[in-house]
């Protein structure tokens, strides 16, 4: 810690929780992500902004291994993500929400969140089938974890409801609870404020802050609602046509000429 040796740069690098290097993704002829690199430190809240089609969701899908990039590398907490599968992400500590809300409609709110806590448990299929002690222990752990998330996000009154009966804003909260249930070190939020009213966005801001303080987790937040991103983020990365055009403090990025031209200009 107090060492003045030459390894400091390495140490800083090793401290990164997520490191994306020279990421490339193309769909047919379209280059969706173009030589993109950035890092996130543990506990950091990073905003990811860019116009429609800039490649933000594609970056998320690479981090959660739904897509396989055509080039570059992604490391997370000592793991080379590209060696792993989508289903491994929750286990190593990456949770996410989806831009277009992907809940499980035939499960209740509570069951959705329990599904989110899947990776918290250890019991296998046959342990469940035979109701071995580990199956019951896992069930208890998952139920406790889900209950904690339900209380944290104020979902108790509707915990047994099916998803179909909920308002859009509530569904978004359920999805957040489900993502948190896996106890992630990094949470990817794809447009958490999308489709919410002003009052709901303020409430979301409070919830996100609460979550962050309580679990001290890192968050990568894609959001078009600039006021929201700029207020909540420690750092903001701006992308345009799949390329990074700015990376810095919210106050710096919001006055960056390239960002103003590419994004704020069109958004205004």
């Amino acid at each position: 810690m107090s060492s003045g040796e030459g390894g400091i740069a390495d140490k800083v690098n090793n401290a990164a929780l997520l490191r994306i290097s020279n990421l490339e993704v193309s769909f047919g002829g379209i280059v969706a992500v173009d030589n993109l690199s950035f890092e996130m430190a543990p506990g950091e809240v990073c905003g990811l902004i860019g116009a429609n089609g800039a490649g933000k969701t594609t970056i998320f899908n690479c981090i959660s291994r739904i897509y396989t990039p055509s080039g570059g590398s992604i490391t997370f907490d000592g793991n080379n993500i590209l060696d792993l599968k989508a289903r491994d992400m929750a286990g190593i500590g990456i949770g996410r929400t989806f831009q277009n809300l992907v809940l499980f409609p035939s499960l209740s709110v509570r069951e959705n969140i329990e599904a989110g806590a899947h990776s918290v448990g250890k019991s296998g299929f046959f342990a469940d089938l035979l109701r071995l002690p580990i199956a019951s222990a896992t069930r208890r752990d998952i139920q406790e974890r889900a209950q904690e998330m339900i209380e944290l996000l104020g979902l108790s009154p509707i915990a047994e409801e099916p998803i179909g009966s909920l308002t859009f804003a509530t569904r978004k909260r359920v999805e957040l609870a489900r993502a948190l249930a896996s106890d992630p070190k990094l949470l990817l939020l794809d447009e958490p404020a999308g489709g919410l009213s002003h009052g709901e966005v303020d409430e979301l801001m409070e919830r996100v802050r609460e979550v962050r303080d309580r679990f001290s987790l890192a968050m990568l937040i894609v959001e078009h609602h600039l006021n929201f991103v700029m207020r909540i983020s420690d750092r903001v990365v701006a992308v345009n046509f799949g390329r990074k055009i700015a990376d810095g403090k919210p106050s710096e990025v919001s006055v960056n000429p390239a960002v103003l031209e590419a994004y704020l200009g069109t958004a205004a």
Binding site: I66, R87, M89, S106, L107, N112, F125, D128, T138
Partner: protein
Amino acid sequence: MTGTRSPQISSVLKKVLILCVGGFLVAAPFLVESFALFELTTVLCYVTVLIGMNLLTGYGGQVSLGHGAFAALGAYSYIVLITLGVPFWPALIGIGVICFIAGFAFGFPALRLSGHHLALATFALAVATPQFIKIKAFEPWTGGSNGSFIPLPEAPAWFAYGDEAWFYYICVGFTLLSLIVAVNILRGRSGTAIRAIKDNPTAAAAMGIDVARYKTLVFGVSTTMAGLAGAGMSIQTQYVSPESFTLVLSIIFLVGLVVGGIGSLWGAVLGALFLQYVPYYTEQVSEVAPAAVFGALLLLTIFFMPRGLAGAAASATRRLGRK
């Protein structure tokens, strides 16, 4: 008020129902005649198949039109094992293992097929099965198209009520076992995972759920149940032929699943009762066209009780509880 009362009433109702059904199952050999016991044994076999299909389709979302093929596999595995001199109980376990492995293995190509493609593939399996059994090379085992006789397992000396009652109790045993297995799977984290996969496999994977593993394992469990039931049906009729396992059998299973109620274990019981007893009544209504009456009843069920008999019963008890 009403909200707190209704679950109590329905849970009391459930306990009473379980006690009645349980008591009846134990006492049945002393209460009913031999033919009725024969029917009851068939019902139990249907229940076992339908529990498995409910896990696979109702909860897991994988449609199979070919469970008759796995019932055939169970029946013919039994014949082969018995012919090889394997005693009854190990043979029964053997059927379970063979049908699990077959279903689990079939589950892998099934992973690549979605929705109606999977239905078609399993359909093909059901169509091919009778032809496959008739293959000449297998005749020493299968008896070819003439079929083959199967002895009822002998009751042990301490059991004084005859081989038929003995076999009936064996069927009660594996039906209960299937039910317990299904309940155990569904209540644990595997159950939530299976249902989540049905709704959205991509999101399920993002939750850390191993989609391929659960889908193939559920396939294996459901075909194990189909195999046991297939063996059970053939053993109690003491005869098996390729015609016992035509496509119609697979369709009948599917009808039982839908009419009983998809996604409900009670539905498996109701569906089995429907399959066994309703055709008799339809024959009384119209001797000429029992199939047509059966079909009409099926249509009515689908239109007016989309969640099957179990779904209708559930909302009826809920209404009762509110009163």
